[in-house]
């Protein structure tokens, strides 16, 4: 039975299988038969999994949620590239037309000490959440809806801030960095808040807290390979890392005052 007769493909998958966090894990080989080029990569895995389930075997566990490129859950290293061989997209937006009949495809989980593998391709990306909890917010009082344009923001800063805010926290930067560094992620979060007047007030405390939280998770240090920028599905630029370096450096001569929680006026 040849898949290519209908334009469909037969592929050989080498997938990382790992029972739980303690298991050593290994690559296992699977055949994906009759795959339509119009399928998404995750749909292709669904087909393989249905086949596995029919055979009474354990399906391949992988993370996914929105399947439309916005939630950042679908973390997969496909043929050695985070989110696979297409630019500016997540794995769920990757289509099988990027592959040819007979291709071998390697699928591995994100690899980082800070992202322990839970099962197969699913990793725990909680480290990124803890970094956000450390200061990935502003402490603005809410109150009534402010008038439009009551606070003027330069076009340049608004644009840069929005570019940084495109980060969906998928972890591809960590996965593709030779040092498993999370600096692209952290710099995007530091910048998208710090570039706007509402977030600027706490910029110094924020960058210190977030860098400290990042280091505590055991991510590596950026040594400017720029692999993060190359695989980021949202096209976040490594120059945000430079901006974060600047932001932290500004706090060195005069560190921000520590603020006690619930201090009040």
């Amino acid at each position: 039975m040849s898949g290519s007769a209908h334009g469909n493909m037969n592929l050989t998958l080498h997938v990382w299988r790992q029972k739980d966090a303690k298991d050593k894990g290994r690559l296992e080989q699977y055949e994906a038969k009759g795959i339509s080029p119009d399928m998404s990569f995750l749909e292709m895995l669904d087909v393989v999994n249905e086949d596995l389930i029919k055979k009474g075997k354990d399906p391949i566990v992988f993370d996914h949620d929105c399947r439309e490129g916005i939630c950042g859950m679908c973390s997969q290293m496909i043929n050695g590239i985070a989110h696979g061989p297409d630019t500016d997209i997540t794995a769920c937006q990757l289509h099988m037309r990027k592959f040819k009949d007979g291709d071998a495809i390697f699928i591995e989980p994100w690899r980082a000490k800070a992202f322990p593998v839970l099962k197969d391709l699913m990793v725990d990306r909680g480290a990124l959440d803890r970094i956000i909890q450390s200061y990935g917010y502003t402490s603005a009082k809410t109150g009534g809806v402010p008038d439009g344009n009551a606070i003027l923001i330069s076009k340049e800063n608004a644009d840069l801030s929005m570019d940084a805010a495109a980060c969906i926290g998928c972890g591809a930067c960590v996965a593709s960095c030779p040092n498993a560094s999370a600096m692209l992620f952290v710099s995007a979060k530091v910048s998208h808040l710090g570039l706007l007047p509402q977030g600027e007030v706490e910029a110094a405390r924020r960058v210190r807290a977030m860098v400290e939280a990042m280091d505590a998770e055991g991510f590596g240090n950026c040594t400017n390979h720029y692999e993060c920028e190359a695989t980021c599905p949202k096209g976040i630029k490594a120059t945000f890392i430079s901006r974060m370096n600047r932001e932290l450096m500004k706090t060195i001569p005069c560190p921000p005052r520590e603020v006690k929680a619930g201090g009040g006026a």
């Binding site: 050695g80 860098v211 240090n221 950026c222 692999e227 430079s242």
Partner: protein
């Protein structure tokens, strides 16, 4: 939080100590070009460096400090980065990074070894004790005769040329890297800084490699 214990702080330290050494290496390269003025040029240059001994020693102290701090921080970074990915990928493709960026710690260690041997040879005269007594016609220490004697040996010439290649590799990544580490890049300047850094690295390498080449092939006598 002590800034120098953070990941970013270590990058600042690498950047500042690296920058100090790059400035030194640039000055050293330009100074070396006085070799093309023959014995008179190089010996006079060397004499000038020694006119104010406290200055010379302060400078040596600063360079030694930068050197040691750069090595310690660099090795620390390397170890932390390795620990950050305990299980390697079976299959990993890199898109942007370069050979020079991936081998920074190794070219760095080679440079460290080079610097020690270089100082042993030409500053401490450890391999040729008689060099300490070389004096030229004007009564100055005869650096030119010493360097010519050293570099006409094919093994030493090859050693110095090899060291320049290693320096080139380290700086092809290093120079543009400290602009990024010290937060001096932005969207508009990123590309030019990258190219400019590589250009300066090449200029340095060419300037340095001319000395062993011209002496070995007898072009400068």
């Amino acid at each position: 939080m002590r800034w120098y214990t953070t990941s970013l702080g270590k990058k600042f330290i690498m950047g500042i100590t690296g920058l100090l050494m790059v400035v030194f290496v640039l000055a050293h390269m330009l100074g070396n070009l006085s070799t093309f003025g023959g014995a008179n040029g190089l010996n006079a240059y060397a004499e000038h460096l020694r006119v104010f001994p406290p200055g010379l020693w302060a400078f040596r102290g600063l360079m030694a400090l930068a050197f040691v701090v750069h090595i310690i921080t660099g090795v620390l970074l390397y170890l932390e980065n390795r620990a950050a990915r305990p299980v390697p990928y079976a299959n990993k493709k890199n898109d942007r990074t370069t050979f020079s960026a991936l081998t920074m710690v190794w070219t760095g260690i080679l440079l460290g070894i080079f610097v020690l041997i270089h100082l042993l040879q030409f500053t401490l005269h450890a391999f040729n004790a008689e060099w300490a007594h070389l004096v030229d016609a004007m009564g100055r220490f005869d650096v030119f005769t010493m360097v010519s004697a050293g570099l006409s040996n094919p093994l030493w010439a090859a050693f110095y040329i090899g060291a320049v290649v290693v320096l080139l590799l380290h700086l092809l990544h290093g120079i543009q890297s400290f602009f990024q580490s010290l937060g001096l890049t932005n969207e508009n300047t990123f590309c030019s800084i990258n190219l400019g850094g590589k250009f300066v690295a090449f200029v340095l390498a060419v300037g340095f490699v001319l000395i062993p080449l011209t002496i070995f092939f007898g072009i400068v006598k």
